[in-house]
């Protein structure tokens, strides 16, 4: 019976194609948009992700995200280090600087200053150079994307000179960092050096980053820090989530993307539901004939379900392939750098496609169930 069901399905090429494209379109839209959405909002926590050694972040109680920061007094580092359960704690500096590119243009850039002695706070992946060279005077590391943007059309090389807020900086290393929300150019340097570039030496700790003792959870240690210092402290997990939620709640991104996704689902349901119904309706006489010949309702439902599943599977695969291709190609362009298709989005869109198909199939099955086999004798 299943082979007959498939022959019925493939016979009406136009409708089969329409059904598949409907599912594919929905799948593509959902995956592409949600992939972009997740790629975008996770950028809000990029700075946190780039410091995997630290599992605790301490900051001013008013801080809501990584972009609006108020400096901490330098005595706070000692107090944080004194909290039981804190294995270590180091300062982290973060600021925006203006940088002049190779051809004289100005670009906004991020400057991260890491602890002078330990150099904790740098992203782990080194593309070129040696991070120990950051201890040299005027030494900076630059993000790979930043290098491409500042020194356009140049192969990666060390020794390039940049001007950070009009001060000389020598590139000694190129690092791979996570794409940021605001700027794709990030410079890394020692904490003390960073202060030279921005505040003429005045101490300005943006964050204190630290690690909890192995036997304690970072959430527990963070709670202790809050109790003892009155500062805001969070596990890196929580802080990343908070930064992401800030973007979700305070920008139009979720609404605009949510609209497109909802539209994709709606169009999918409408197109696939209608077309599948039409398909079954047009084949109702055939189903009635099969019923008259002695096909059981279970067999008929199996046939419709198989037809729906084939449409769903082929359409979903096509849509997913399209979305993968998008992220494969677009992921290479600097604007979409780091955008990818999270597995859970693919799985989720699969669930949506399955829902669309099941819904369409259920409606169609009702028609088949109530198809009157007695019509076979009527004109």
């Amino acid at each position: 019976m299943f082979s007959i069901a498939l022959k019925m399905l493939f016979h009406d090429r136009a409708k089969y194609l329409g059904l598949i494209l409907g599912v594919a379109f929905s799948t593509l839209l959902i995956n592409q948009q949600l992939g972009i959405f997740i790629g975008l909002i996770t950028r809000a926590g990029a700075v946190i992700v780039d410091v995997p050694e630290a599992d605790i972040w301490v900051m001013d109680p008013g801080v809501k995200n990584l972009d609006t920061i108020f400096p901490l007094r330098d005595t706070e580092i000692g107090r944080v280090r004194g909290v039981p359960g804190v294995a270590w704690a180091v300062p982290l500096y973060k600021s925006n600087v203006t940088i002049r590119t190779g051809n004289g243009e100005l670009e906004a850039s991020l400057l991260i200053g890491v602890d002078d002695s330990t150099l904790i706070g740098l992203p782990p992946e080194v593309v070129m150079g040696n991070i120990d060279d950051l201890r040299r005077p005027d030494a900076v590391a630059v993000s790979a994307d930043g290098f491409r943007k500042v020194w356009r059309n140049q192969p990666f090389s060390l020794g390039n000179i940049a001007e950070l807020n009009d001060r000389r900086a020598v590139v000694v290393a190129i690092l791979k960092d996570s794409p940021k929300f605001t700027s794709s150019i990030t410079f890394f340097t020692r904490y003390s050096q960073a202060l030279q570039y921005t505040n003429n030496g005045r101490n300005q700790m943006s964050f204190i980053i630290g690690r909890s003792a192995p036997e304690l959870s970072p959430e527990d240690v963070a709670r202790r820090i809050v109790e003892r210092t009155g500062l805001q402290a969070m596990s890196s997990r929580d802080f990343r989530w908070k930064a992401i939620m800030y973007v979700v709640q305070n920008t139009g991104i979720p609404i605009s993307i949510g609209t497109v996704v909802a539209l994709g689902i709606l169009v999918g349901i409408a197109v696939v539901g209608l077309m599948f119904n039409l398909f079954v309706l047009e084949n109702l006489k055939q189903f009635a004939v099969l019923k008259a010949i002695g096909t059981s309702n279970i067999q008929l439902l199996g046939m419709v379900f198989l037809q729906a599943c084939v449409v769903g599977f082929v359409g979903f695969s096509l849509g997913l392939f399209g979305a993968t291709m998008f992220f494969e190609t677009a992921g290479k362009s600097p604007t979409f750098q780091g955008f990818f298709l999270p597995w859970y989005v693919a799985v989720g869109s699969g669930a949506v496609a399955a829902c669309i198909i099941v819904l369409a199939a259920l409606f169609a099955m009702r028609r088949v169930l109530f198809a009157d086999p007695a019509i076979v004798f009527r004109g």
Binding site: S3, I293, G294, S296
Partner: protein, 237 residues
């Protein structure tokens, strides 16, 4: 019962609609269709022939009365059992042929075997031989819309017989065919469908094919008026 009986109806009543639109179409049919013969059910249009054979086939339920097919009371069967019974023992030929447009001739003829549980491949092998006997060896791989009416009806005949049903029920099988093709189709039907153990029931008002009837049942306004053996003099009219 003793007599070789294929179908027996006892007081079969059928009403359509309800309330003021209620219409009684069958007024208590008592009828016995013999095995080993071809029985024609004739009568004016609208007298209830199609309704009666639909009830005999189990495609329509009777308002009252009882029906036995091959000794089994089908009016008492559960729906699933009835469907299974139909798949095993009945073959159908329709006026409109009702072939599946997405299947080739041989695939169409194979459908009843597939419904019974055969694979399409083995069902096609069986159907193929039958199509040869019906003179369709050159057209087996064509789709219904590539076949003439007569060829389509022959495919339909093959489909009705491929699973060796003991009862073949046919409603106006020649109405969509010209005289010669209709005659041919009936001839083929008699050749392949008849047997001592089988019954063929043909609903028709095509007098040109009456010669193929062993028995003639005449229906009028929801009743069987007469049921008798067909005499050669009558059929050669």
């Amino acid at each position: 019962m003793g007599l070789p009986i294929a179908v027996e109806c006892e007081g079969v009543i059928k009403e359509f609609g309800s309330g003021s639109t209620k219409q009684r179409v069958l007024h208590g049919i008592d009828w016995q269709v013999p095995l080993g013969a071809t029985t024609f059910l004739v009568g004016p249009s609208g007298c209830g022939k199609t309704t009666l054979i639909s009830i005999i086939s189990g495609l329509l339920s009777a308002t009252a009365g009882r029906v036995w097919v091959l000794g089994k009371e089908t009016t008492k069967m559960r729906k699933g059992a009835l469907v299974r019974f139909r798949a095993d023992h009945l073959g159908f030929i329709f006026q409109q042929f009702n072939l599946l447009p997405s299947l080739t001739a041989v695939e169409n003829a194979a459908v009843p075997l597939v419904v019974q549980g055969s694979t399409l491949a083995s069902a096609k092998r069986q159907a193929s031989g039958l199509l040869d006997r019906l003179g369709l060896e050159k057209n087996k791989w064509k789709y219904p819309n590539q076949l003439s009416g007569g060829q389509q009806q022959r495919v339909a005949i093959a489909r009705a017989l491929v699973h060796n049903p003991r009862i073949v029920i046919s409603d106006e099988p020649t109405a969509s065919l010209d005289a010669e093709t209709g005659h041919e189709a009936m001839q083929l039907m008699r050749e392949v469908a008849s047997g001592p153990d089988r019954a063929v029931i043909v609903v028709t008002h095509d007098t040109r094919i009456f010669e193929f009837a062993d028995y003639l049942a005449t229906m009028f306004d929801g009743r069987i008026e007469s049921f008798r053996q067909n005499t050669p003099s009558e059929s050669s009219h």
